[in-house]
């Protein structure tokens, strides 16, 4: 295996990256519109033609692909208590690269059932109860799902003592059921790996063909995974390194898109100080959160709602009236490019706030509590103050002006002292948009992928 093609079927663009495994470098990248409605290969062929214009014809030894086309991997997850199994189920789905449309807790109602039917998930993740714990809830939910219309597969990852009965109820109703280990086998013990590998399997077996991607799979030698899972894999490799090469240690990734903002952290996020008590579910080392209301176009209004129009206007150096007018314009015409000075200024303000809001929601928090024997700290979520790298990726940011300033919004802020964000970090930009490609390559040649990332990701200096 010498020359490899890495393909990312995005919702809008099909991006191709050619890599040489011997020289360990990127030969070229190109993109064209995704054509999932007709034949997905059309877009791919066009992107390849563009690539070959730059590199000359390449006879690839292997082709690997990831996809977020046709809505990505749409999942609904369901647990018992919102902060416990429902949260674990959500973490499992997000970490597997899914778009989580809805998270339910406690017992599903008739109304929920109708909502699930309307949402038409690709996979339903059903959890609830620790092993040997609550059975009634998951069984009631299995009955509700058994009565639902739709042929989505149901992944059972709840109380193992209820699994047989749930499976029977669902299979008798003609549902496809896959059983795996509990996402929370004991109280506060997160076990999302087995559910995530099942999600990957279901994605490969069922979802690819259902989404019209199987025509492409004939051309592709291997593994297809959802794009966010590929990005997560790349970041984890970059953080941990391989057996022969060290990684970069704790790091953060931010991907601000048109509709959503994804934040990744590679860190255990354990407390830094003494006298700190941790609350809540343990955090996965590789964590992904998605903010559905924060994005540069479809969710531009969401940024303004969260940050406040005056803040956006001040950052952009525009009047409040102008800001409101432009916001309306870009939310309606989502393919607007920042071609005027005002639009570029607005994009800068929106991106800065998107990074800030996304990161604040992702990072853990700390609270000082006075107890009869002195000060104590309560930590929830990850302490990311010591993470030293912030990687910026995503089409709307990697070519932006002042990207270092935008990225610096991910850092610790004295006005939000309770939020455990990095104190000082290098802002690194994925300028060639190679992270998902490197996540794919990491499955086959991790050392090469790591080398290429270290070479191709561009530092914009240290911010604090």
């Amino acid at each position: 295996m010498k020359q490899v093609l890495l393909i990312d079927f995005g919702s809008t663009y099909t991006k191709v990256t050619a890599a040489d495994l011997e020289t360990r470098e990127i030969l070229g990248t190109a993109a064209s519109y995704t054509t999932v409605e007709t034949d997905i290969n059309e877009g791919l062929e066009k992107a390849l033609a563009k690539l070959f214009d730059k590199t000359g014809e390449i006879d690839f030894d292997a082709r690997f692909a990831c996809s977020s086309a046709a809505g990505g991997l749409k999942m609904i997850s369901c647990g018992l208590v919102p902060e416990l199994t429902a949260e674990a189920a959500k973490q499992a789905s997000l970490g597997a690269g899914a778009k989580v449309m809805k998270v339910y807790s406690y017992q599903l109602t008739e109304g929920d059932r109708e909502e699930i039917e309307a949402l038409k998930p690709d996979i339903f993740l059903l959890t609830g109860g620790t092993d040997g714990g609550n059975k009634n809830n998951i069984i009631a939910n299995a009955k509700m799902l058994a009565a639902s219309k739709g042929d989505f597969p149901i992944l059972l990852a709840g109380n193992r003592n209820a699994a047989d009965e749930c499976r029977r109820i669902l299979e008798e109703a003609g549902k496809k059921v896959i059983v795996t280990e509990n996402v929370m086998p004991r109280f506060n013990e997160l076990n999302i790996g087995p559910a995530q590998s099942k999600i990957r399997e279901i994605f490969l077996e069922r979802i690819i063909s259902a989404k019209g991607l199987s025509e492409a799979s004939q051309l592709i030698s291997g593994i297809m995974m959802p794009t966010p899972a590929a990005v997560l894999t790349a970041m984890e490799l970059l953080s941990k390194g391989t057996e022969s090469q060290s990684g970069w240690g704790d790091l953060i990734g931010v991907d601000v898109g048109g509709a959503t903002t994804d934040v990744y952290s590679m860190s255990y996020g354990e407390p830094n100080g003494v006298n700190t008590v941790i609350k809540g579910l343990p955090e996965p080392y590789a964590k992904r959160t998605v903010e559905g209301d924060i994005g540069m176009r479809y969710s531009a209004q969401g940024i303004a709602d969260a940050a406040g129009i005056p803040v956006i206007a001040r950052l952009a150096g525009l009047s409040v009236e102008m800001t409101e007018k432009l916001l309306k314009q870009i939310s309606e015409k989502t393919d607007t490019l920042p071609e005027t000075e005002e639009l570029a200024a607005l994009d800068f303000a929106l991106a800065s706030q998107a990074v800030k809001i996304g990161m604040t929601r992702h990072a853990g928090t700390i609270e000082k509590v006075y107890t009869p024997i002195g000060e104590t700290y309560l930590q929830e979520g990850k302490d990311l103050r010591n993470a030293e790298k912030v990687i910026i990726t995503g089409g709307s940011l990697i070519h932006a002006e002042r990207v270092k300033e935008i990225g610096a919004n991910a850092l610790y802020d004295v006005t939000q002292m309770q939020s455990l964000k990095p104190v000082k970090a290098e802002i690194i930009v994925d300028e060639k948009y190679i992270l998902s490609a490197m996540g794919l390559l990491a499955q086959h040649a991790p050392d090469v992928a790591l080398d290429i990332m270290k070479k191709e990701l561009v530092t914009h200096g240290i911010a604090e």
Partner: protein
Amino acid sequence: MENKKKLVIGVIGADVHAVGIQILDHAFSDAGFDVTNLGVMVSQEEYIAAATEIDADGIMVSSLYGHGELDCRGLREKCNEAGLEDILLYVGGNIVVGKQPFNEVEARFKKMGFNRVFGPGTPPEETIQCLKEDLGC
């Protein structure tokens, strides 16, 4: 595992006394209970969330810093709201401020919905005996 009675234990409120709860964890586990230990500074909501997921038979509340009365108020009502109407609630430790007659303290906590109330210095064996009686095991 399925046959063991399940207990949620923890130190309530802003109380950080971490040693006693470990002793209780060992004592209850050795006596054959399946123990979920929430540690220190446990809120009422955390006890209820844990008890719901593990389908607990009892919640054992510890308090050593004297503010137990304030911290425990409303726990039974919240359990009822959460569908844990039948759960056994015990409380023990230095649960009130100062030296008050224990029978008065006990009466106040029983009125708050606790099934059993234990004063300072109760040996774990006594609590275990009560658990066996109340849970029929």
